[in-house]
Symmetry: C2
Subunit: 292 residues, 2 copies
């Protein structure tokens, strides 16, 4: 069994980006600049955004955190979005979700200039990705592709089962893995809440991508020997014995499945750490693409 170590791989990617930033500086150019918009002061969102800003600092990017009041009107937020679209010093930006209930999330995401949409949530990016054109790929599927590619996990002609059809993980990874290219050319099945006989599907699959959000759902009896397992689940499960009062669980019963797997991602330390690295990668791409 080989561990697909997202912590190590994401660090490598960040080091690669750092080197590129140094080269950019040496060439006398402006470094990539990521902005993040945070509305309100939800604890989890603050943590995520904070971690993104710190990662920018680490690789040498410029970063700007724009904090807006919880009760900001949709119009005022859209004006801010327009400012960011116009600001030539900002290469890419994200709007941290969820937004307060009085704001139409879809309208806000559609207002982001696709050229600066480093989260890859805008339909123009999603469509470009699905049609094999250059695009910002959402961070989680982009991170999965990187892990598979860097560990040279065979995918061509393999049967890959993706469990979960969300717009930010299941759907895009099902598209990417069935396209030509790195970590691609797989025969992909997309399963979801309406799927019947899921176990007969997981047992056939050479690669299983779990993006369901149900802790330890995938057990050893559901997979075949030599399977590759990518675990996208991150659920907080109450655990009094832990100082934080909870532990993070993936969608996979790790120990028992690992015993049968050729490759497997741990949780934490698998797909999770890859997402911020890929957000940085998209920001670097934004600077390159918008300049040319």
């Amino acid at each position: 069994m080989k561990l697909l170590d997202g912590k190590k791989t994401s660090t490598e990617i960040k080091e690669e980006i750092k080197l590129k930033v140094t080269a950019i500086k040496t060439a006398g150019e402006r470094v990539p600049h990521l902005a993040a918009v945070l509305v309100g002061d939800d604890g989890a969102s603050l943590t995520y955004v904070g971690s993104k800003v710190r990662s920018c600092k680490y690789v040498g990017f410029e970063s700007t955190l724009i904090r807006l009041e919880e009760d900001i009107t949709e119009e005022a937020l859209l004006l801010k979005i327009d400012e960011l679209n116009q600001n030539e010093n900002i290469d890419g930006y994200i709007v941290q979700l969820p937004l307060p209930k009085h704001i139409n999330e879809e309208r806000v995401l559609l207002a982001i200039d696709p050229k600066k949409d480093v989260d890859g949530f805008h339909p123009a990016n999603f469509g470009r990705m699905a049609l094999d054109l250059d695009a910002f790929i959402p961070a989680t599927p982009f991170g999965i592709i990187q892990l598979l590619e860097r560990y040279e996990v065979p995918t061509s002609g393999k049967h890959c089962l993706v469990v979960g059809r969300s717009h930010i993980v299941g759907r895009p990874i099902s598209i990417l893995m069935s396209q030509k290219g790195p970590a691609g050319d797989a025969t992909v099945t997309l399963a979801h809440s309406r799927t019947q006989n899921l176990k007969s599907l997981t047992k056939q699959a050479d690669i299983v991508v779990m993006a369901l959000g149900i802790p330890e759902f995938l057990t050893a009896d559901m997979v075949k020997e030599g399977v590759t397992v990518i675990d996208v689940g991150i659920t907080r499960v109450a655990d009094e014995s832990h100082p934080k009062g909870y532990v993070i669980k993936g969608d996979v019963a790790f120990d028992e499945v690992a015993a049968k797997a050729n490759y497997i991602t741990p949780v934490p330390g698998g797909v999770g750490p890859m997402t911020i690295a890929m957000l940085l990668q998209n920001t670097l791409l934004a600077k390159q693409w918008n300049q040319s």
Copy 2:
């Protein structure tokens, strides 16, 4: 066995559109207007475009055929596209493919205003479709969905195998059938040239969509009893005994597969006739969406 009769269904859809056009006229409004751009004088393209223009007349749409010389420059064509984007009297338009080799097809398709892209080939439309937003759906997959829906073929929780990953058929139908909604909620597997053991997949499937372009590829031994088969293939096969010198063959060995199937589309008269009806439907939608 029930035949999914595309000829009959497309006629029904055209009649429905005709009624809506009559209502539009009665309300004193302008009728929908479709334009088609044809570069050069390729025989097959002329036939397709001619048939689209005739269908417009039939349902009462206004239509404009713009014929351009084979040796038109890309710049001149892009200017024409821009004119069409600006022209408020045109609700939607198509650029008949293929374009001459000296013209970059991708650049031309990306220049079409997504709001008028009734072929649904622009990434902005493709992304909207994949993210469950209102979108122009490419005519062939849209036609398949309509057939499944109008014949009330069960799809929810069924295993659907799509063979072929083209951008205009295989990829979009694989997305649509796995989404929530009419003719949706299926567990979809997308197979393609790199797929191994295709026969073991076709034999498991409740629904098989063939979009491969290999005449009579799918045979009775490859499917299970009670299967639903959608045949998107249209290949001209030389046949001296026929007045035209060829016959049109689908990807399915119809007679033997039909004997095992619950539902099946014939070729010709299945998916083919649906495409023009759905182009008209998209043009009607374009007028509605662009007005509101």
